[in-house]
Amino acid sequence: MNLITKLLFLGLSFTPAATFFTWDGAVAWSLLNGITLSFDLTPLSAFFMLLLAIGAPLIAVPMLREKSDESAYALYALLLLGMQLLLLAGDFIGFFIGWEMMTWSSYLLLLRSPRTDLEGAQSYILFNLVSAFLLLAGMLFLYSITDDFRIQAVDGLLTADKLVLFVLFGLAFLIKVGALPLHLWVPRSYDQAPDLFSAFLSALMSKMGIYGLMILPLLFPDGFNEISGQIFNGPVAGYVLAWIGIITATIATFKAISQEDMKRLLAYSSIAQVGYIVTALGVGSSLAIGGALFQALVHTLVKLLLFITIAGIILQTGHRRFIDLGQLISRMPISFFGVLIGIIGLAGMPPLPGFAAKYLMYVGLIEAHWLLLLAAMILASTASFVYCYKLIYGPFLGHANSPEAKTATEAPWQYLIPQIILMGMLVALGIFPGWAIDVLIDPVLIGLNMTPIGTPAWNVLATSYGGYDGVAVMGVFATVFVLITVLFLLVRGNMHRAASPYDLSFCGEVPTADTPLHYGAGMGRELRRVPLIGWILRHTTTGFYAGLTRQTQAAAGMIGTLYGSNPQTWLLLAVLIFAVTLTIQSVTGA
C-alpha cells in the first residue's frame, strides 16, 4: 500500500514532463457565458513548463524517503496541477485559477512543517493573496476596457489606463518574485517550509512570477515609449523595472551575507538571483531576455541542487545554523560537491552556466548602455561571493561544531540521485551554453517576436559583443588542473597530512575542542563596518508591516466594541438610527 502510494506520487510528479512532451493542440473549457478557459502551450510557457518538468520529479524523489503522507502528496499534485494550468492558460481566468491553486496548495504544504510560525504562515498567504488580488483587479480592469479575458496584445489604450494596468500587474508579479520591499514573506517561508518544499518554492514557484512578468510585454508590445521617449535608451517602464530588480538583488545579497541560517541565506539569495532576472527583463532586448531565461534556467537548477543538498544536511545532522555545523566535507563528500557546483553556478563563475547567464545579462546591459545598472549588478554578483563562500564554509569546511556534525553520515540515496543529476546538468550546460541557446531559448525569443540570439556551435555562446567557447574554457582549465596536480605530486619532497585537525598555526597557542575555531556565524559580520552595507543592514521592512498589522488589529478591536451583548443597546441603536434618518430625510426632503 505504502509503496503503491509512493509510486503513484512519483508518477504524478512526472505530469509536467508528460504535459510538456505530449501536449498538442489547444483545449477550451467553457466556464460561464462569456468566460471560456483556453489552454495551450506557447513557446514561452513551454520553457517554464520544462523547468517544472525538470524540478518536480527531482524534488519528489527525496520526498519518497519519508513515510508516505497522502495529504502532502495530494497537495503536491494539486500544486503541480495549478502550475500547469497557470502555464497553459491562454486567458487570465485560467491563469488566475492556476495562480490561486498554486498559492493555497503551497500554503498548506508550508503548514506541514513544524517550524512554521504564525508570522511566517500569515505573511506567506497574505502577501500572495495581495498579489493574486492585484492580478485579479488588473485583469478585471483590462476586461472592462477590452471586454475580453484573453492574454493578447492590447493596443490603443490610454496612457493612464496602461499605467494602472502596468502597476497592478507589475506589483502582483513583483510580490511573487519577492522584489523589495515586498519580499517579507520570502525569507520567512523559504526558511520555515519543509526542507524539500523550500526547493520547490525557490526554484519553481518564484519562476511563475517571472513568467507573469514576461507576459507583460505580450500585453503591451509598445511598452511606454510614448512617456519616456528615448531618454533612458529604452522604455521608462523597463528602466524602472530594471532598477527595482537590481536594488532588490543588491540589498538581498547583503542581507544574505548577514544570515546565520542556511535556508534563510538561500532565501535571500533567491531574492537576489531573481532580482537579476527582473533587471534583465527590464532591459527587454533579445540578448537580455535570453539572459533572463538562461538565468531562470540556471537558477532553477542551482536552487534545486542547493536546497536538496541542504535538506540532506539538515536531515543528517538536525542542524541548520552555520555555527552548529562544520567539517562535513569528509563525511558528506557528494553533498559537498553538490554545494560546490551549486555555489559556482550561483556566483556565476565560468565554466558553469551561471556565467553564461551573467554574460548575456551583462552584454544586454552594456548594449543598452545602462552602465549604472551594470555597476549595481556587478556589485550584487561580487558580493554574492561572500555568501556563497559562507554557504560552503559553514557546513563543510572548518571544524565540526556540534556532536551531530561530528558523527553525520552521507545523505541517503534518494537525496543523492537528484543532486548528481543536477550536477551533471549544470556541468553539461556549462560546457555547451550554445545548446541551451539554440534549443531552449531561441524558440522562446522567436515566439516573443524577437531576434534569436543564435549560436554557431553548441559549445559556443556568441553575441554581437563577442562570445566564448565553453569547451575551450573547461578544457584548458581541466588540462592545466590535471597537469599541475600530476607535476606537483611528481616533485620530490615529503607531503603529509596533519595528524590532528588542531594542528593549526595559532599564534603558538594550542587550540582544543573547546576553542571556537569555526568562523561560520561571524563571517560577513564585519561587513557592517562598510557604511553603505551597515546602513542597509540596519533597516528592515519588518517594522512597517508589523505596524500595519498592529493598526489593523487596533481598528478591528475598536469597531468590535460596537458588538456588545446587551439587547437594549441593539434596539436603542436601531430605533435611534430610524429616528435620526427619518428626521434628516424629512427635513432635507421636504
Binding site: 467553457s30 466556464l31 460561464l32 457565458n33 462569456g34 468566460i35 495529504s71 481566468i93 488566475f96 485559477i97 490561486e100 491553486m101 498559492t103 493555497w104 500554503y107 498548506l108 503548514l111 506541514r112 513544524p114 512554521t116 504564525l118 504562515a121 500569515q122 498567504i125 497574505l126 493573496l129 495581495v130 488580488f133 485579479l136 483587479a137 478585471l140 480592469f141 476586461y143 472592462s144 489593523t552 488589529q553 481598528a555 478591528a556 478591536g557 469597531i559 468590535g560 460596537l562 458588538y563 456588545g564 451583548s565 439587547p567 443597546t569 441593539w570 434596539l571 441603536l573 436601531a574 438610527i577 430610524f578 434618518t581 427619518l582 430625510q585 424629512s586 426632503g589 421636504a590
Partner: protein
C-alpha cells in the same frame, strides 16, 4: 390518479408533517421523516424546473389576486426553495447520523425545524404582504425556540435575546405593512407595487425606512446586526447553520424582492443599500480579525458575506444579481459546512477558542481538511464555486466600469483571509496539549457524509458552474423583472 403538484406543497408538506409529529414519535420515524421530507421537497423543486423555465407558476389559494392570496413560483423562488430544502436535508442528515446532540432529535426540534423550513418557503413564495408577515412570524418563533432548545444557560440567554430583537424587528415590519395597507387598501404585493409610487414621498420614505430596519435586523445588515454573534455563539451550531444558511437568505430575498418590486426605479435605493452592504462587509470582516472563538468568527464571516451579497444585489445589474444569487447558494453551502464542522469539533473540544484547537488536524484530519475547503470557498479561491460567484459579481461590476466595489470586495476578501488562515494555521500547528489529544476518539466517516456531499457540490460547481448558469440568470431576471411580475400577477392592467 395523478397527484396534482402545486407550490402549496412546499409549505403544506412540512406543516402537515409537523402536525403529525406524535405519529412519527410513536413509530420512531422522526428523523427519517424529517430527512425524507426535505429530500422530497428538493426533488419536488427540481421537478418544477422545466415548467418554471417556461413561465412562472401562479397558485391562487382562494380567489384571484389582487384580492386573494396567491403563491408565486418563479425561477428565483424555485431556486431558493430548492436551496432551503437542500440545506435542510443536509443539516437533518447530519443531525440524524451524528451521535451527539440528542435534544435535536426529539419532537420539539423536529417540529420547529419543519416550521422554519415551511416559513422560509412561504416567505419566498408568497405574493401577499400580510401573508409574508405571517410567515416571518412563523419563522421567527420557530427560530427563537430553536435557539433556546438546548435549555442550558447560554442557549436560553440566546433564545431570549433573539426573541427580543426579532420581535422588535417584526414590529417594524408590521408597522410598515399597516401603513401600506392604510395608504392603499391593498395587501397583494403586485398591487401594492402599482400603488406605491402614488403615495406621498414622505410616506414612501417612512415605509421604506421601517421595512429597511425591520428586515435589516432580520437580514443582518450593519447597524442592525449587533445581535448576531451572541445568538450564533449561544445556540447549537446545527441550528446556527440553519440561520446562516436558510433564514438570512430568505430575509435577504424578501428585502430585495420588496425593494425591486415596490420601487419603480430601484436606483433610488441602490446607493443606500450598496453602502449598507459595503459597510456591513468591511466592518464584519474587520471585527472578525480579532475573534478568538470559532463560532463567533464564523458569525462575523457570515455577516461579511451577507454584506457582499447585499452590495452585489443592490447594484441591480443582471450580472451582479446572478453572481450574488450564486454567491448566496455558495454561502449557504459553505456556512452549513463550516457550522456543522464546528458542531463536530465541539464534540471533541470543550471550547473552540483559537488557543484550544491547536493541532486539531492530528485528531480530526477530515474536519480540518473540510474546514480548509470551506475557507477557501468562502474566500473565493479557485477552483471552488465561491470563486466563480465572486468572479461573476466582480465581472458584473467591471462590465459597467464601477471599480470601488471591486476594490472593497477584494480588500474584504484579504481581511477575511487574514483570519481564516489564522485558524487554518492553528489547526495544523503543533498541539498545545498533547496529553488530551491522545485520548480523543477518531472520526467516524458516517458523520461526515453530509459534509462530503457539500464539499463535492462546491467542487463540482467550481469546475462546472455552467450547470447552474441558465437557472441563475433566469432567477436574476425574475428578481429584477418588475414589469414581467406585475403582468404575470395582475394580468394586462389598464
Amino acid at each position: 390518479m395523478t397527484l396534482h403538484f402545486t407550490p402549496v406543497w412546499f409549505i403544506a408538506v412540512p406543516l402537515l408533517l409537523a402536525f403529525l409529529a406524535p405519529l412519527w414519535v410513536r413509530w420512531r420515524l422522526l428523523m427519517p421523516v424529517l430527512f425524507s421530507a426535505q429530500v422530497a421537497l428538493f426533488a419536488l423543486a427540481l421537478s418544477w424546473i422545466p415548467a418554471v423555465r417556461i413561465a412562472p407558476i401562479l397558485e391562487t389559494i382562494v380567489i384571484a389576486p389582487p384580492l386573494g392570496i396567491h403563491l408565486h413560483l418563479d425561477a428565483i423562488a424555485l431556486l431558493l426553495v430548492a436551496l432551503f430544502s437542500f440545506a435542510g436535508a443536509i443539516i437533518t442528515a447530519f443531525i440524524w447520523l451524528d451521535n451527539g446532540a440528542a435534544h435535536l432529535r426529539e419532537r420539539p426540534a423536529f417540529i420547529l425545524i419543519l416550521l422554519l423550513i415551511a416559513g422560509s418557503n412561504g416567505m419566498v413564495l408568497t405574493g401577499d404582504i400580510f401573508n409574508l408577515y405571517v410567515f416571518i412570524e412563523i419563522v421567527g418563533v420557530s427560530a427563537y425556540a430553536l435557539a433556546a432548545i438546548r435549555r442550558d444557560k447560554t442557549a436560553l440567554e440566546a433564545g431570549l435575546k433573539y426573541l427580543i430583537v426579532g420581535s422588535v424587528a417584526a414590529i417594524f415590519i408590521l408597522f410598515a405593512i399597516v401603513l401600506l395597507y392604510l395608504q392603499t387598501g391593498q395587501l397583494n404585493i403586485a398591487a401594492l407595487a402599482q400603488a406605491f409610487s402614488n403615495m406621498p414621498a414622505q410616506m414612501q420614505l417612512l415605509i421604506g425606512l421601517l421595512m429597511l430596519i425591520g428586515l435589516g435586523i432580520k437580514a443582518e445588515l450593519f447597524p442592525f446586526n449587533f445581535w448576531v454573534p451572541d445568538i450564533y455563539r449561544g445556540s447549537d451550531p446545527e441550528i446556527t447553520a440553519l440561520y446562516s444558511g436558510v433564514l438570512v437568505k430568505a430575509f435577504l430575498f424578501v428585502l430585495f424582492h420588496l425593494t425591486f418590486i415596490l420601487l419603480a426605479d430601484p436606483t433610488v435605493a441602490r446607493n443606500w443599500l450598496m453602502a449598507l452592504g459595503a459597510i456591513t462587509m468591511i466592518v464584519a470582516e474587520l471585527v472578525a480579525l480579532r475573534q478568538n472563538d470559532l463560532r463567533r468568527m464564523l458569525a462575523y464571516s457570515s455577516l461579511g458575506q451577507v454584506g457582499l451579497i447585499t452590495l452585489a444585489l443592490a447594484f441591480a445589474s443582471e450580472a451582479t444579481t446572478a453572481g450574488a444569487l450564486f454567491h448566496m447558494i455558495n454561502h449557504t453551502f459553505i456556512k452549513v459546512l463550516l457550522f456543522l464542522l464546528a458542531a463536530l469539533m465541539l464534540r471533541q473540544y470543550a471550547s473552540l477558542k483559537l488557543t484550544d484547537v491547536h493541532g486539531l488536524s492530528r485528531t480530526m484530519p477530515l474536519a480540518a481538511g473540510l474546514f480548509v475547503l470551506g475557507a477557501l470557498a468562502v474566500l473565493g479561491l479557485p477552483p471552488l464555486s465561491g470563486f466563480i460567484s465572486k468572479l461573476w459579481i466582480l465581472k458584473g461590476f467591471s462590465d459597467v466600469q464601477t471599480f470601488w466595489p471591486v476594490a472593497l470586495i477584494l480588500t474584504a476578501a484579504l481581511i477575511e483571509a487574514g483570519y481564516y488562515f489564522r485558524w487554518i494555521r492553528a489547526f495544523y500547528a503543533a498541539p498545545t496539549d498533547a496529553a488530551s489529544m491522545a485520548k480523543m476518539e477518531g472520526e467516524k466517516v458516517l458523520n461526515y457524509a453530509p459534509l462530503l456531499v457539500i464539499a463535492g457540490v462546491l467542487i463540482v460547481l467550481g469546475v462546472a458552474p455552467f450547470l447552474l448558469e441558465d437557472w441563475l440568470q433566469q432567477a436574476a431576471q425574475a428578481l429584477l423583472g418588475r414589469e414581467a411580475l406585475l403582468n404575470a400577477v395582475l394580468g394586462v392592467q389598464p
